[in-house]
Subunit: 354 residues, 2 copies
Amino acid sequence: METVMERECSALGGLFQTVIGDMKGGYPVWDDFISKATKLQSQLRTTVVAVAAFLDAFQKVADLATSSRGGTRDIGSALTRMCMRHRSIEARLRQFSLVFLDCLINPLQEQMEEWKRAANTLDKDHAKEYKKARQEIKKRSSDTLKLQKKAKKADVFGRGDLQPQLDSAMQDISDKYLLLEETEKQAVRKALVEERSRFCCFVSMLRPVVDEEMSMLGEITHLQTLTDDLKALTMDPHKLPASSEQVIVDLKGSECTWSYQTPPSSPSTTVSRKSSMCSSLNSVNSSDSRSSGSHCHSPTSHFRYRASSSSSSSVLPQQTPARLSSVSSHDSGFMSQDAFQSKSPSPMPPENLQ
Amino acid sequence: METVMERECSALGGLFQTVIGDMKGGYPVWDDFISKATKLQSQLRTTVVAVAAFLDAFQKVADLATSSRGGTRDIGSALTRMCMRHRSIEARLRQFSLVFLDCLINPLQEQMEEWKRAANTLDKDHAKEYKKARQEIKKRSSDTLKLQKKAKKADVFGRGDLQPQLDSAMQDISDKYLLLEETEKQAVRKALVEERSRFCCFVSMLRPVVDEEMSMLGEITHLQTLTDDLKALTMDPHKLPASSEQVIVDLKGSECTWSYQTPPSSPSTTVSRKSSMCSSLNSVNSSDSRSSGSHCHSPTSHFRYRASSSSSSSVLPQQTPARLSSVSSHDSGFMSQDAFQSKSPSPMPPENLQ
């Protein structure tokens, strides 16, 4: 009987050791995880910076479309909405990389020290208890062996008088084995709980990261309507919208008109002269002066503003306030350009002919 | 009359020049966009590499849980599913960075050369035509002026005979102005269409990128059920699942048992000895031999396999085939470890006591 019980206790002890060994053998895996997560996190951080710079450039393209002479204002507004949605995605990505560090990488690194201490304590305590129990059983066993020999010798003279003592000793060993088995089972359970709680702890650290990841999804879902808007607006690149034709019509009745600037004969200087004119226009536009005196184009730009607002507000009502402010700021930029243009002296005034 | 028409034609010519100027002034904006997009794309490419390395490390953590002695196999399976879903996200991210380069950055760069050529051609053609038309009108105007003077002088002698000629000349100038106005309107429309078609072209290049971005969303949506699974599994870290208790129960009736290995007295060598034992266990596990002779733990592992399959197959049926293969490969790994463990000579065989 003792051989079977001995084997079972040893098996439980072996299982305990293997579980502890597994935990200790897992440290390089956890270390590798922390190292790769740290690298990914720093990569995400620099990606966020690149995304921010990209979106700045994207917004400038959208502004280019919005501040044009009337042919692409609608596309500019849609591109601005697309850009703003990506700003939200950028913010989520930034938040994601922060949570990745603060909720997973750093706490896991701290937790690992705790894990190492806990496993060592479990192992040491178990080894001490197991050794003590086994030594006690061993001593009782050899005592019982001696008692058995004594009983065999005593058998010749007066048999039955050592049997109760022998039975009691055997029972004692059996009880001690049962106790050891129960202790070992508890130790195995403790080790399994320790092992499981590590993964539970890991999952609890992982969850806010995945939550943050999923909240990026909330931003991405809105992209569908935005890309549909853009598709509809750019369906036919060679058809001008009504607002573009309006620019030509408005020009006729307007008091402040553009005037043709005779280009010099050399084509190369034409380009440089034009571009310098454009850069001065752009500088006026970027200063975004709302105090320009002449507001001759106001009716037209208001017409356009209302038209674009009513056509797309039903699709994305939550975007309306932000988009309106962007459009109105460009309206002001548009007007200040007109004012600048109307004030510039014409190199070929209409009066010089007749 | 001519003064008004002159002014209107000049205004249209000025508008044309401004639209062309806007397009030319936009080149630095497009260049900046391409530059920032290129930087972001290369950043995304290195991020994909970091994600792949991170997921390798993540999978090893999942394997650690799956290949444990029974306490965390369920968590390991859920972590493996989480990891596999992120592999799909990684693949989408890789695809996204490719599409970003192939569908947006490279074509846009090529398109810009085309845009520059087109704007220069528009500008040159317009300047030539405008100049020619204006010179012709100027000549007719001065001819008409001479005719008017002649008519005034002729008025003294015989009045009416030059009037029809004068009327015809005036009508001719008026017609020429109307023609110029129409030509200028067409030129402005052409310029506006050219400007608009650039943004349409840009949007058409942007769309596959946004589509790819949104298809990442399809992968992310599945994360919710996976994180819910993990949350449910790790709700109580200190409660062992039935399968863990089964490991202890199975140990009793099993033919091939673990055995306790007496640790040496020094605690430091204990750790190094354990970890070397574990690494040899891991190497057996990673070789994933399915041809291990001893299959003593088969019934237990099959029980666990069926239990975990039925408990979560209703939640994620589409994941079943992949997960099953992962679990079964780990079952095989688990068994080969058992075989290894049962074959290892015990330093304290149960026979050496009694």
